[in-house]
Symmetry: C2
Subunit: 354 residues, 2 copies
Amino acid sequence: MTQQLLFTNDVAAHIQAVANDIKPNSTFILADDNTARCVLPELQSASALLARSTVITIPSGDISKNLESLAHVWKMLGDNGGTRSSLLINIGGGVITDLGAFAASTFKRGIPFINVPTTLLAAVDASVGGKTGINFNGLKNEIGVFNEAPFVIISTSFFKTLPAEEIRSGYAEMIKHALLTSDAEFEALTSRPADHHTPQELLTLLQRSVEVKRHIVTTDPTEKGPRRALNLGHTAGHAFETMAMGRRRPIPHGYAVAYGLIVTLILSHTILGLSTAPLYRLAGYISNNYGAFPITCYDYPQLLELMGHDKKNERTDRINFTLLRAIGSYECGVTVPAEEITAALDIYRDLLHL
Amino acid sequence: MTQQLLFTNDVAAHIQAVANDIKPNSTFILADDNTARCVLPELQSASALLARSTVITIPSGDISKNLESLAHVWKMLGDNGGTRSSLLINIGGGVITDLGAFAASTFKRGIPFINVPTTLLAAVDASVGGKTGINFNGLKNEIGVFNEAPFVIISTSFFKTLPAEEIRSGYAEMIKHALLTSDAEFEALTSRPADHHTPQELLTLLQRSVEVKRHIVTTDPTEKGPRRALNLGHTAGHAFETMAMGRRRPIPHGYAVAYGLIVTLILSHTILGLSTAPLYRLAGYISNNYGAFPITCYDYPQLLELMGHDKKNERTDRINFTLLRAIGSYECGVTVPAEEITAALDIYRDLLHL
């Protein structure tokens, strides 16, 4: 089945249209308690279908992305008349779309579902690509399936109340997609701060960005080949993210990706000959909008260790990166020696004045 | 990926060959405690790969087909170095192949697995067809995914220690497949009791039988259309099975299917004009080998109620059957009025001298 990606600022009407199309015999909404309180009432007042749906809530936060919440969703579906012809509507951030999509993919061996991301990060990253799942046994996304959401409804109307930091976090993933696409797209995104676009401009940029991801995912749904392109910036980014957590000063995922993209473009220059212009442009933009993740040379051994353990890395004794020859031209699985990474971290500190 | 179905009496060598092919970086075996004690030692002494695999066990019986066992399998995989390139080998009956296949389908969003059924019922029914899952919230197979096992290794060598009742239970599903295929196949199966075939003869019959199921499943992996043919005998069969449970005198699944097939052939005669010859042949064979499920006319209302609630039935106010016009020629979703079913139950009692 082909995925339907709908970009709109009238979410209730589009949910209704999807439901008219698939004619579920019962409808469920999954949301976290914040979203249930702040977002649902308006949607429900605009749609009789949503008003009469069974609402399933879980506590907000990544801590809820666990087996206990999943079992709660399964039980609520079963106890409230869920069948193979029921519809689950996941309204929320990445936790809700990942967990809800996994619940729907496994309840009675699969029921239809709609993802309605309410954060920019979930819109650009989590709601498309088919990665569903939960954290388990202390590991992120340890359990799940690949199952593309049959319907995704993306709207910037949810973003108006998001903190600027959350907008920037999602925007970093859009910059990543732009780097995989074209100079023009990269320049469009880095021409102004994330929160200086009108909702309509942002929706247009977002639409192109999500299409980039969908195009790559379509060619490689289970992440065995070209999909690793989407890992751009993440090998170093995850290392920064984990280090920040270890320092008990966690940073948003997108910020970690932003810093990781700088390291990646430095390596792309030194190893694959990427020109310096996009590197300087990116470093300036990130520095102005995201600040810097502070590191010294004493942090290098731990960062190298963390990069070696990234789950996309097949062997822990070599570190693989997705790198760019030019904007829009990427190479996956480039093995980079430790000393090149160390040199790149030196340049990262120079560029960000650390 | 095309499924590899291997029929052999040298299981260890075939597992080794599959492993040589996919080169897992670690190997796990899932078995119930009975199988681990009685079957594994011989296999492990014949294969270095199996001898050095991590063995995960769960208690035997359908009661173990639950979320707790599933979480145990996930945790054992994670705690013992399981990665996306690990291999899980499920050795056992339907509980093990269903639960193990679901665990493998969801651990790190999917790892390769081999099903090695050790009962005839699992060989002919559970190990092929992609139905994975667990019982949950009091319902059978409430949670799971459709995911065809990439490798199935079928051997009659495991059956020599099975009780005759277990052999007959699986054999009833083979008779069902034969009825969907040809007169010749139906006659081959009903020419002698299930346990009067040599292992080699049984393997040949089993191979043809499993191919029937695979052929039907391939055309309809998620059970929306022709796959309902495999439901032949099951609408009435499940009703008998549930009634037997209610009487606290449970009968094996295949026995319930055997009795259900008689009701189905009666309805096929009265509604679609199936000739009486296969009906009499089947009733005689079942009566001689499986006895009869005892019912009186006072049981009819409950049986009709149970048939209406069969989960393959889309609406509870009409009862749908898969019926035969002739052997090998089936029709799915035939709505049958209650009075026709009542009449068929009368004939069932006549044929089985009840």
